[in-house]
């Protein structure tokens, strides 16, 4: 399938931020996740857990707690003391409301979703009203006691709130605002241990209070009597997080050793009414603290400080084996953080608050398959570009010629001109860049580096003309004719500069004709998120990868799916392909061989050869190694369209520099694990 010279890039020092909190949408369709750097991400369960929306963080904004309220509205509260509503269409944080009680440690929404309760540093619990139109309004204070309120749980009926603090938790009657019960949790522990932090708490509808504390215990209390019903020591270190299933028959607990445990309410006798909580399944997917857990109807979800989000399906709840029954781990974002200037051989890495521009090394040697070629010129870190202000970067891009670099934060869009003079590289800010509000969600330069496409809110795409020696002019704003409320998050210009495909948050793909700046057509709707798309340089076919691993090819001139795409759909993709758990994040083409489509996700690189037959379920999808052993004639028979390479993992980016030169960007897990803080030391048997 052709050999490539591969630039194996491992100098992208990305360290994803740890997961701080998780909030499962009550109806189970979406999962909101906040990272320690304030980034809020939304995963869509329906779209195979695709990371649908990302709201970059802000230095001054930490998110300690997230909750869904009033339907689809997402609120976050943090140590800044503000309650923030996140605009999921515009992918931005609205202006916060001051909680008025110092840093906010926890927030919980009432069962109806009309009220929010926050637990503050000063020991107060405050209730806010969610205003239907937008915003929130302070309602009242509940009984204030000394000691920060670290966790809250609201009874389903809305009558009681239980608030966990250090050494105790209390139950507050919402109607009267009075504390009706205060229970010490450290009464059994010897004096040597200083304090018992109630890290997580849950008030079940039966009136049982479940607490997870820093002694590693999960305790079940009868709050009316103030008695301890059951105590499960799940860990020798702290139990940090807790989530209860919708039916309240299962609890997931995260601990600081990285283990998560499931506790189940099981009948003591089969068919009997008496039930007890039993610690059942232990899982060790994380190496660090599991700060956040969530319990969806079919899966246990945990997020740790090692930046991993783990979705562990409950086999007994999954009806059929398939995509849902696969354990998946997400460490890296489902979007592109790397852009590549093909001609100039530059790579632009996007970090949360700065960009790095690298020049690829080169070699003059040639070798056989599998050989490592010694570079004659080492890769070079050209420049680091720090963004101004506290806001994190939304997106960035480098032009194919390598002379333009653009990035955008929540409030500003910046364009730079790169000047290479000999060894020195200088960046010069392009003056008079048109002000963009709201900001850009995706930047894309045209293939000839003469125009810049800026994805913006409400489905619009701005087209800028880049002017030599350093200028920029707004040419046009493309908008879907029917209007759209969601922001555009993916762009794909054609190589000939004729077409532009744009995907907005409602998953509609609009194709614009750039010659006349007109809307050309809409790709027929498909009920899944688009994870990557690209336009073929020679045929102008749009290749679309959806997050459910389906692949489509849409002919733009003919406004219909190509025959190959129809063949793929009628035949169906290989089962192994469909059961992969990470979405395709980038598509590119080999100009030398128009039948080839290059795709990659985090774990594999695939060359799709449209000229070969599609594999059926009985054949091996990943047959490269077996093919190698076969004689030439037999190999012909075994060939199928998918050529898969799993050599590079985890793969953050892949692009074709020229006909036979690939660049792959890896971020080995071990590399960034070493940059994480030390995990809790545990004695391992036999060492």
């Amino acid at each position: 399938m052709g050999e490539f010279e591969v630039h194996r890039v491992r100098f992208f020092g990305l360290v994803p931020a740890g997961v701080r909190c998780l909030a499962c949408h009550p109806r189970g369709a979406r999962l909101a996740l906040a990272r320690t750097d304030g980034t809020v991400e939304v995963y869509n369960f329906a779209a195979n857990y695709f990371q649908e929306k990302v709201i970059p963080g802000h230095e001054a904004r930490s998110v300690e707690s997230l909750c869904w309220a009033a339907g689809e509205r997402l609120f976050g509260a943090g140590l800044g003391g503000d309650i923030t509503e996140f605009d999921l269409c515009g992918l931005s944080a609205a202006r916060g409301v001051d909680g008025g009680g110092g840093p906010i440690w926890s927030m919980v929404a009432s069962g109806t979703g009309t009220q929010l309760a926050i637990g503050c540093e000063d020991g107060s619990v405050k209730i806010f009203q969610v205003v239907p139109g937008g915003g929130i309004q302070f309602e009242r204070n509940l009984d204030r006691r000394k000691g920060r309120v670290l966790c809250l749980s609201w009874h389903r009926s809305g009558t009681y709130i239980v608030a966990g603090s250090i050494d105790f938790f209390r139950v507050i009657d919402v109607a009267s605002g009075q504390t009706v019960q205060r229970i010490m949790v450290n009464h059994q522990v010897e004096k040597a241990k200083p304090e018992c932090v109630v890290w997580a708490i849950a008030l079940l509808s039966s009136g049982t209070v479940v607490s997870a504390d820093s002694f590693g215990r999960v305790q079940f209390w009868d709050w009316e009597q103030g008695t301890l019903a059951e105590s499960h020591t799940v860990s020798t270190s702290a139990a940090l997080s807790l989530a209860v299933s919708e039916k309240e028959d299962s609890i997931v607990v995260g601990t600081s050793t990285g283990a998560t445990y499931q506790l189940q309410l099981l009948p003591v006798k089969l068919g009997g009414l008496e039930k007890c909580w039993v610690r059942t399944k232990p899982f060790q997917f994380h190496s660090h603290d599991v700060r956040a857990v969530a319990h969806s109807s079919t899966a246990l979800i945990s997020g740790g400080l090692d930046a991993q989000l783990v979705i562990r399906p409950l086999m007994e709840k999954v009806q059929k084996k398939g995509y849902d029954a696969v354990l998946r781990k997400f460490t890296f974002p489902h979007r592109r953080l790397v852009s590549c200037a093909r001609k100039a051989r530059l790579l632009l890495f996007q970090f949360s608050q700065y960009l790095e521009l690298w020049r690829l090394g080169s070699t003059e040697e040639t070798g056989k398959d599998g050989e490592v070629l010694p570079p004659c010129r080492m890769p070079e870190h050209l420049v680091q570009l720090k963004s101004k202000g506290p806001e994190h970067i939304y997106c960035s891009c480098v032009s194919p010629c390598g002379t333009w670099v653009g990035y955008s934060t929540a409030s500003r869009f910046q364009l730079y001109r790169v000047h290479c003079d000999g060894d020195g590289v200088s960046l010069r800010k392009v003056p008079k860049v048109p002000k963009l509000l709201p900001p850009a969600y995706q930047l894309q330069f045209s293939a000839d580096s003469e125009s810049l496409f800026v994805a913006s809110a409400r489905g619009s795409v701005h087209v800028f003309q880049l002017l030599e020696p350093g200028g920029c002019k707004h040419l046009h704003t493309l908008q879907p004719p029917s209007g759209c409320s969601e922001a555009v998050y993916l762009l794909a210009p054609s190589a000939d500069g004729h077409w532009l495909a744009a995907v907005s948050g409602d998953w509609a793909i609009h194709i614009y004709n750039l010659k006349c700046f007109q809307h050309h057509c809409v790709v027929p709707a498909y009920s899944c998120a688009v994870s990557a798309l690209a336009i073929h340089p020679s045929t102008n076919n749009l290749v679309i990868a959806y997050s459910d691993q389906q692949l489509f090819e849409f002919s733009i001139p003919e406004k219909q799916y190509t025959s190959w795409s129809r063949a793929v759909q009628s035949r169906g993709l290989h089962r192994t392909w469909l059961e992969r758990d990470s979405p395709i994040t980038h598509i590119t083409f080999n100009p030398k061989n128009p039948a080839h489509i290059l795709l990659h996700d985090t774990y594999l690189l695939c060359i799709l050869d449209k000229s070969l037959p599609l594999p059926d379920d009985s054949t091996l999808l990943m047959n490269q190694s077996t093919l190698k052993q076969l004689p030439e004639t037999a190999r012909k028979r075994q060939l199928h369209a998918f050529k898969i390479c799993k050599k590079f993992q985890p793969l953050l980016f892949m692009d074709l520099l020229d006909e036979n030169c690939l660049v792959v960007v890896e971020r080995p897990i071990m590399d960034f694990k070493t940059q994480l803080p030390l995990a809790v030391q545990q004695k391992k048997f036999g060492t």
């Binding site: 499960h232 089969l270 039993v278």
Partner: protein
């Protein structure tokens, strides 16, 4: 055997049941089954692993109303059908046939002799001719009047052991198994009784805690006293290995036992009487021989038929589970018998009886991270629906919700680093005990907390764990055949240990002249002194004095040779490391110190020989002083060495004497293999491969040599007493030779593959055990006669490795002339399965001393108002006796209140009316002047009760009706002293417990 009358109140005893285990080797050739003329063998294929009575299926609570009272009798007993076909021969029959089995009873001595004779002739001729092809030297053993005519027409009798000459002649000759705990290799099978035994009834727990430990042991069920560790009772009756025992859930005084002979017996273990025998084996089973060939086991339930007779046939079998694991540890019954769980490999099967639902759960077979998911054992929670399984990788899984095929779940406990051998739940189910090769008992508290307790250093790997029914004790059975009793707070309480099973008995069977105990390898590196009388370990002497580490691949030092001097004052031991080529040898000499009553190390000699030491002996000379004490060792380094005591000249030395080498002898550079002193100590015989050399022990001159090629000398010994002029030797190629030392010529020889040659120290007799074609035979002869005195063909199917004559304290009176050789000493054998066996003319029951029986009776008195009253009464009487200055006779107390005792021991419903008994009872409370009258009264009572028993046997129903009233009448005003719960309890038990009547 007249059963003891039962005490009314005795049903409130607590019983700790355990079981000993027996590995089952068996069973039989299937062809034999079909051919067997007696037709009862089909049953042998049945292996009952667990006689769990599924009480809930037919208990009154479940079967409310719809079933009559008769149905309550039908109990389902699931048993396991064994599909494995065992190659090894059937176990020797240790137990005589029950008296009432006419089929197997030999009709006359003559008939009985015949098969035995056939065997002798057949073997003698067949073995001799093909090997040598020429007439035998000396007189052949065949053709003697002892053997009968061959009767080839008769098919080979599998049960030939019923027909031993001894039995036919005197009826009293039995083989007594000493093997109970001696045969530890067979420990892997047994029944775990307490597991599904019901929790004790509330009223019962108030009574004194468990006293008895029941243990299936060989063909017997043993009853141990928990307090004294004594064997209280030995219940024999099964014709083959007892594979499982189980308390009757309706009556904890009764016990079900199952055996390889295809029967299930119901016992009254307090009295040791079999109540019922259910014969499960039948033609029906013969059909299932098809299953026997495959490797699958089935769990079947047996409907125990109700009937009046003692022998019943239960042929209603229904298969519950197919393909279950082969061990009892692989099967467990759930709470109240609602379901049965079986594990095999990586599959867990749960069968719900009521819903007839079978759930199968499989673990992945992939060994991740070195883990091995195979199941090793399973138990069920007593009160909750929770299954605990042990796994080969040391994990314990607790399964719940297993009635859902999908939503089942389990949690994991992990401490053991190797296979979990057994698990047991406490009675309440709050604690789980687990054990494995680590020799640590782990107690897991309720699964919610990570807390666990350990009882380490239990000595050897834990094989089985069992809980008492009241939860106060638990006991573990170890691979070395020890039972450890452990308190509920996980403190070691006591251990019952007989013969410790060592990995390999290298020392041989040696008799300690001082204690008459058998001495052999015990724990690794230890020498055990095993008392034959009490079946207990006297003590264990640490010889190697090094920590033994249980780990595969480690080379450890172990004891290989032991010799005692004649008086037992000196002990010589040889230890060597396991390395084959260059063993580290140590010869140690121990002196018996009277002060410490133990052996103290006197001399340690490093590397006494350059290669393995093959034999060692002291010069036994009773009459001479210590100076004559000489130790001879022979080694593979082609020399024998003579060690003598020397006075230690060093004044600072701790000991006054030490040992040093005096003489080194060799013969043509042959390896020295055996050595032996003549009785007077003047001659030493040393065998060098094919040659026997005789040395003068004073001058160490080589006197003469004997040789009987081909073959190396295997054993040599001198004759004793009148036969001391003979030297006996056995060679590898199957010759037994007797040389005359006076003529220096071969006196006679016989063609026999002798493996053991053992002279009796007190007589001229020499016992020789031959091993040929998978059976051992015993020959006893005097060297001066070439004709054996006694021949026992087919002694056992296992190879006998060692034998020892143990001198009797006082010569036994033996009527039969043939067994005169057993008069002064008793012969013990150790087989390769480490079973200790003996030949004995005494019956089994005599083994238990009267004192221990008495103890059982005493102990069987419950703490009830009655017994308190009785105790007070006795106490007063004893006091009065002493006050009056009468000599207190022990019997006095026994005779004092026979009436009361009878009253207590006889079930209420067979007693005459209270008005009749009243006078007797009152009389008994009076201080009797004449003991005789009381005895007479007692006799009367017994007669009455017998009669009543006979009546009630026919009219069960009426008896049941009467029951309610009779105790009231009987007890009269006493009843008011019983608490209500006790009373209820009593009544309940009484209702259930009258099946023992059938034994009358």
């Amino acid at each position: 055997m007249s059963p003891n009358p039962r005490a009314i109140c005795s049903t409130s005893y607590q019983v700790l049941v355990n079981f000993g285990k027996r590995h089952v080797k068996d069973v039989m050739d299937v062809h034999t089954i079909l051919e067997d003329p007696l037709g009862r063998i089909g049953a042998c294929g049945l292996r009952m692993l667990r006689a769990d009575v599924l009480c809930s299926l037919h208990s009154p609570m479940v079967a409310k109303g719809s079933l009559g009272s008769q149905d309550m009798w039908r109990e389902l007993v699931p048993v396991l059908l064994d599909g494995a076909f065992w190659e090894q021969g059937r176990q020797a029959q240790f137990q005589t046939q029950p008296e009432d089995s006419p089929l197997l009873r030999p009709d006359s001595p003559c008939q009985a002799l015949r098969p035995a004779g056939t065997g002798v002739l057949g073997e003698g001729v067949r073995a001799a001719q093909p090997l040598t092809g020429q007439p035998l030297t000396g007189q052949p053993l065949t053709g003697q009047p002892l053997t009968g005519q061959p009767s080839p027409a008769e098919p080979p009798r599998r049960l030939s052991s019923w027909e031993w000459p001894g039995r036919a002649a005197g009826g009293g000759f039995r083989r007594k198994p000493r093997s109970e705990r001696g045969s530890a290799r067979r420990c892997s099978r047994g029944l775990r009784l307490p597991r599904s035994a019901r929790a004790p009834l509330a009223g019962v727990t108030a009574f004194p805690p468990c006293r008895y430990l029941l243990c299936a042991s060989g063909d017997f069920v043993k009853v141990y006293s928990v307090n004294t560790e004594e064997t209280l009772r030995l219940m024999g009756g099964h014709a083959d290995l007892v594979t499982g025992i189980q308390l009757n859930p309706h009556n904890h005084m009764q016990l079900y036992s199952s055996s390889l002979d295809g029967t299930i017996k119901l016992w009254d273990f307090m009295d040791g009487i079999p109540i019922k025998t259910f014969t499960v084996g039948s033609k029906l089973l013969a059909l299932q021989i098809f299953f026997l060939w495959s490797d699958t086991f089935q769990l079947v339930s047996v409907k125990l038929t109700k009937g009046a007779g003692q022998d019943l046939e239960s042929k209603e079998l229904s298969v519950v589970l197919d393909g279950v694991g082969a061990s009892v540890k692989h099967i467990a019954f759930g709470r109240e018998g609602a379901y049965v769980v079986s594990v095999k490999d990586v599959t867990l099967q749960v069968y719900f009886f009521k819903r007839k639902l079978l759930n199968r759960f499989s673990l992945s077979t992939v060994k991740t991270k070195g883990g091995d998911n195979c199941f090793s054992c399973v138990v069920c929670h007593p009160t909750e629906d929770c299954i605990a399984t042990g796994h080969a990788d040391g994990k314990i899984r607790l399964w719940r919700n297993f009635h859902h095929r999908k939503e089942y779940t389990y949690s994991t406990l992990h401490w053991h680093h190797d296979i979990v051998m057994d698990l047991a739940f406490s009675v309440e189910g709050t604690r789980l005990l687990s054990g494995g090769v680590e020799s640590v008992l782990v107690q897991w508290h309720n699964e919610s907390s990570c807390q666990k307790d350990f009882l380490p250093r239990l000595g050897s790997p834990i094989e089985y764990i069992s809980m008492s029914s009241d939860g106060a004790l638990c006991c573990t059975l170890h691979t070395d055949n020890r039972i450890t009793i452990i308190n509920s707070n996980l403190r070691f309480s006591r251990s019952i240990q007989g013969l410790i099973k060592s990995r390999d008995v290298k020392t041989g069977l040696v008799v300690d002249p001082r204690t008459k105990a058998l001495v052999l390898n015990g724990e690794p590196g230890h020498l055990q002194f095993y008392s034959l009388q009490s079946d207990q370990q006297l003590f264990s002497l640490d010889i190697v004095q090094r920590q033994y580490i249980h780990q595969a691949g480690l080379k450890q030092s172990d004891l290989v040779k032991v010799a005692f001097s004649a008086q037992g004052t000196w002990l010589a031991t040889v230890e060597e490391s396991e390395e084959v080529t260059d063993p580290e040898l140590q010869l140690k000499l121990w002196f018996y110190s009277e002060e410490t009553q133990s052996f103290t190390l006197n001399t340690r000699i490093n590397t006494p020989h350059d290669n393995h030491i093959t034999d060692m002996c002291f010069r036994d000379m009773d009459e001479l002083g210590d100076d004559s004490l000489i130790l001879v060792t022979t080694g593979r380094d082609c020399v024998f060495k003579v060690w003598v005591m020397v006075e230690d000249t060093d004044p600072e030395a701790h000991e006054s004497v030490s040992w040093s080498c005096d003489f080194v002898g060799s013969y043509h550079n042959y390896q020295a293999t055996n050595c032996c002193f003549s009785e007077d100590g003047s001659l030493l015989a040393v065998s060098f491969e094919e040659t026997v050399t005789v040395w003068d022990s004073l001058t160490w001159d080589l006197k003469c040599t004997f040789c009987h090629p081909p073959g190396n000398i295997r054993n040599i010994c001198f004759g004793r007493l009148t036969c001391s002029k003979y030297l006996i030797g056995a060679t590898d190629y199957g010759f037994l030779c007797c040389w005359n030392l006076l003529t220096c010529a071969l006196e006679w020889s016989a063609h026999l593959n002798i493996v053991v040659l053992q002279p009796d120290p007190l007589s001229e007799h020499i016992a020789a055990v031959s091993w040929l074609s998978k059976e051992s035979s015993l020959f006893v002869f005097k060297p001066n006669e070439p004709r054996p005195l006694y021949i026992q063909r087919n002694l056992c199917k296992e190879k006998i490795l060692l034998a020892a004559f143990v001198p009797r304290d006082e010569p036994e009176t033996i009527s039969s002339e043939k067994y005169l050789w057993l008069r002064k000493s008793q012969l013990f054998f150790l087989t390769d399965t480490q079973e200790l066996m003996t030949l004995s003319t005494k019956s089994l029951e005599e083994r238990l001393t009267p004192s221990s029986k008495q103890l059982a009776v005493e102990e069987s008195l419950p703490v009830t108002p009655f017994s308190l009253l009785l105790g007070k009464h006795r106490h007063q009487q004893a006091q009065e006796d002493t006050d009056l200055g009468k000599p207190v006779v022990h019997n006095k107390q026994e005779q004092a209140s026979p009436a009361v005792k009878e009253l207590l021991h006889t079930p209420a419903h067979v007693l005459p009316s209270a008005s009749f008994l009243c006078t007797i009872f009152i009389n008994s409370l009076l201080i009797s002047k004449e003991n005789k009258s009381a005895e007479e009264v007692a006799d009367e009572v017994e007669m009455e009760s017998e009669k009543a028993g006979g009546d009630s046997d026919e009219e069960d129903v009426t008896v049941m009706e009467q029951e309610d009233t009779s105790p009231m009448e009987l007890l009269g005003e006493m009843t008011c002293k019983l608490s209500k719960s006790q009373e209820k309890e009593l009544r309940k038990i009484r209702k259930m417990d009258y099946s023992w009547i059938a034994a009358f």
